[in-house]
């Protein structure tokens, strides 16, 4: 149990996929326009990462070294297809707003990276712990980015249709640039610099 928690906690802060390892920026910047999208994307990543880590860990003894990358990619693509169809059927509005970024989980470096670096070398329980930890790390990073972008870009915050609160001045004149693409770069740059200043992540 202690080992399980240890593997899980590594992915959250020490090797946070977005802020520390700098993997998978594409979804982190593109879908962080609202907190809803960030949650939807994280659910997708959790499902795909958990599925691919479990399968890769189970078959790790039988996959020849030469063809392991194509095998991993097909496994990942299968789980991405499943989550794509599930989102399309049950949460069509989220499916629309995630657009092509949901199928693009296939080429997300985080998933293939964990399959290659962790699941193909470790037993199944450790791989599950790793998948959960990395997904929580990804979710936290996306939540922080999307929180600032939605708050500053629209002046208010809402969660799945429920309006939470509106900022006094920004509510009338929101800084729209934050929900546009350049805002993603700006928020991300400032967050990285802040985390470095606080000593959470290392300098170069």
């Amino acid at each position: 149990m202690r080992k399980f928690l240890k593997h899980m906690s590594t992915g959250i802060i020490i090797s946070n996929p977005i802020f520390v390892l700098a993997l998978g920026f594409c979804p982190a910047l593109a879908v962080s326009t609202s907190v809803d999208n960030a949650i939807g994307m994280s659910v997708g990543v959790l499902f795909v990462l958990l599925g691919s880590n479990i399968i890769v860990s189970v078959i790790r003894r039988w996959v020849p070294n030469m063809v392991r990358i194509p095998v991993f990619i097909v496994i990942i693509a299968t789980f991405v297809t499943v989550i794509n169809l599930v989102f399309h059927a049950y949460v069509p509005s989220l499916y629309e707003s995630l657009g092509i970024y949901l199928p693009l989980i296939v080429v997300n470096c985080i998933i293939l990276g964990r399959a290659e670096a962790f699941a193909s070398k470790n037993p199944i329980t450790d791989s599950i712990a790793d998948a959960i930890g990395v997904s929580i790390g990804f979710f936290l990073a996306l939540l922080i980015i999307s929180f600032f972008r939605e708050l500053l870009g629209t002046g208010s915050l809402s969660l799945f249709g429920t309006h939470l609160f509106t900022l006094p001045v920004l509510g009338e004149n929101p800084m729209t640039v934050f929900i546009l693409p350049p805002g993603a770069f700006l928020v991300m740059a400032l967050l990285l610099a802040l985390l470095r200043k606080m000593g959470v992540i290392k300098h170069e």
Binding site: F25, C26, I73, P103, V106, P181, F185, M188, A193
Partner: protein, 191 residues
């Protein structure tokens, strides 16, 4: 014809792959400050995007849609791209060794480049015709190359600039990305 030019300009400038769709960010941040390698990377990506969108268009329209198995598209596209990259690599190695030495190290990386899978998914979701998807992939690829070339020039100046310690590396590259994105808003009116 004007429709084709519109698709080309839209994907090259207005909805640029890097600064507005965030596809292919790894080469953007990782590209060295050498102009020639940015150029080679851009050419390699454009080439793979062009061939991949032609092949996936045929597969999509004559196999997947015909037999009603569109839900297999993600698996199909990634297999097509992975095998295409391998084939192009072998082909260039056999026919043109100088080109292979220039592009060689970039080709294997392209399989996991979001931009290539991105263009095939865009072609499928916009239901582009064969000619339209060729123009879309050229626009996307050349827009990608344009940003890589601009970035390689900026990188050269950034290295000698006195940036704050916490901003060095990735954060300052992100800020450059932001400014490029804002600049490219200027193209918004042409489409």
């Amino acid at each position: 014809m004007s429709n084709l030019i519109m698709i080309f300009l839209s994907l090259a400038l207005v909805n640029n792959f890097i600064v507005s769709k965030f596809l292919g960010l790894c080469p953007f941040f990782g590209v060295s400050k050498k102009l020639s390698s940015a150029f080679s990377m851009g050419i390699a990506v454009t080439l793979v995007m062009l061939i991949a969108s032609m092949v996936t268009w045929v597969i999509n329209n004559y196999i997947l849609i015909r037999y009603g198995v569109e839900y297999m598209n993600i698996i199909m596209y990634i297999l097509v791209i992975a095998s295409l990259v391998q084939m192009i690599e072998l082909f260039i190695k056999r026919t043109n060794l100088t080109l292979y030495n220039a592009l060689g190290i970039y080709l294997p990386l392209i399989t996991t480049n979001c931009a290539v899978l991105g263009i095939t998914l865009i072609n499928a979701s916009e239901k582009y015709s064969f000619i339209e998807s060729i123009f879309a992939s050229l626009g996307g690829g050349l827009g990608f190359m344009l940003i890589l070339i601009i970035m390689s020039g900026i990188r050269e100046k950034l290295d000698i600039a006195d940036t704050p310690r916490v901003m060095k590396g990735l954060p300052i590259a992100m800020l450059v990305g932001m400014m490029l994105g804002l600049t490219f808003f200027g193209f918004g009116g042409i489409v």
